[in-house]
């Protein structure tokens, strides 16, 4: 009988030792798992955030500026600005002539030209060419076409030609001059711009620089 009880007790010890060892091992494994878990979470969260960003930013409007210099250094500048960001940040700038997203202009006169009256005249006019100058030095063309104001300047001076083309939707110009007297409403203009489709706004080409300003929905330049 005592033999049997001794055998049972030794078997209990073996089971107890086994379970202790198993418990200890599982505790160690759990510790290792706990220590490694944050890396997995970080990896998952970072991949998740990049996925959500690509979808959230795809519908946004971006203003792109690209300057390519053809000099020896071959400098290229690329700037991409979300229009919404510019709309939200501009009103926070209160410095010199800029305040609340508007910029002050002196009596709306620039070089004795009444800008506001000029804009009003263009706005109400039908599509057509307003200014056409052709000379040996330069060609200038100002026109209204498909609700866009187009300014085209071709400088033929010297052997180094330069060409400037500016194409601004009329709605943007309207919004720009929608503020009170002597003010340009930059935020309203940006807001109007964001409602436009993909469009090229400014293009400058000369012998050493190419400048392009355009609007689209991509958050990277081509």
């Amino acid at each position: 009988m005592s033999n049997l009880s001794r055998k049972m007790s030794s078997r209990k010890d073996v089971i107890s030792n086994c379970s202790r060892s198993l418990l200890a091992k599982s505790a160690l494994a759990a510790t290792a798992l706990l220590l490694l878990a944050p890396f997995g979470v970080v990896a998952q969260s970072s991949s998740g955030s990049s996925k959500s960003s690509s979808t959230s930013s795809s519908l946004d409007r971006w203003l792109h500026v690209r300057v390519i210099s053809s000099d020896a250094k071959g400098e290229t500048v690329r700037v991409n600005v979300p229009l919404e960001l510019a709309e939200k940040v501009l009103p926070t700038i209160n410095k010199d002539r800029i305040h609340d997203g508007k910029v002050k202009i002196d009596n709306a006169h620039v070089n004795d030209v009444d800008l506001r009256a000029l804009v009003e005249a263009i706005r109400t006019a039908k599509d057509g060419e307003f200014v056409t100058v052709q000379s040996n030095d330069r060609d200038v063309r100002v026109a209204k076409q498909n609700n866009h104001l187009i300014v085209h300047v071709l400088d033929k001076q010297n052997s180094k030609k330069s060409e400037v083309e500016v194409k601004v939707p009329m709605k943007v110009i309207d919004a720009l001059f929608s503020a009170g007297k002597d003010e340009l409403d930059l935020v309203a203009a940006l807001h109007a711009l964001s409602a436009q489709g993909d469009t090229e706004l400014v293009s400058v080409k000369d012998h050493e620089n190419t400048v392009r300003v355009w609007l689209d929905s991509k958050n990277v330049t081509d």
């Binding site: 202790r20 200890a24 960003s53 946004d60 700037v79 991409n80 600005v81 926070t92």
Partner: protein, 145 residues
């Protein structure tokens, strides 16, 4: 063995909790290498949460002074960071020529500034949420607030 396992579990759990709390906002990383005689080499990795936590212990007169100095820029900075958080992965500015490369972008919710030039290399990586925390705290402690 059992005691060791218990101790390991306790230590591990504490480490994980402390690590997760400290790293919840990511890491602020600043690497500056100037390749000239006497040029500085700075390499700093700081948990972003530690910075905003440490700001609570900065004496209020120093915080007031800092916010006074940055008074004009703070609202603009705050608005930029708040908006940038909506664009966690975007190339903002890139300047490249034959020997320099400057890159400002957001990557995984962090602001990344890289300057690679022959005479210096600067790499800054800072979570936007940490920047927002810092600007918010400076705004809260400004004399006008």
């Amino acid at each position: 063995m059992m005691l060791l396992a218990k101790a390991a579990l306790g230590l591990g759990g504490t480490l994980v909790l402390a690590g997760a709390y400290t790293m919840r906002e990511g890491v602020i990383r600043v690497d500056v290498d100037e390749y000239r005689s006497g040029g500085s080499h700075v390499h700093v990795w700081v948990p972003a949460a530690a910075v905003s936590m440490a700001m609570h212990f900065v004496p209020s007169r120093h915080m007031r002074h800092a916010s006074e100095q940055a008074r004009e820029a703070l609202p603009v900075l705050h608005a930029i960071i708040k908006e940038l958080k909506k664009y966690p992965d975007a190339d903002l500015v890139e300047v490249v020529d034959d020997d320099r490369h400057v890159w400002v972008r957001t990557y995984g919710g962090k602001l990344q500034i890289d300057v690679d030039a022959p005479d210096e290399k600067v790499h800054v990586l800072c979570p936007l949420s940490a920047l927002e925390d810092v600007t918010s705290q400076l705004e809260e402690r400004s004399p006008a607030a």
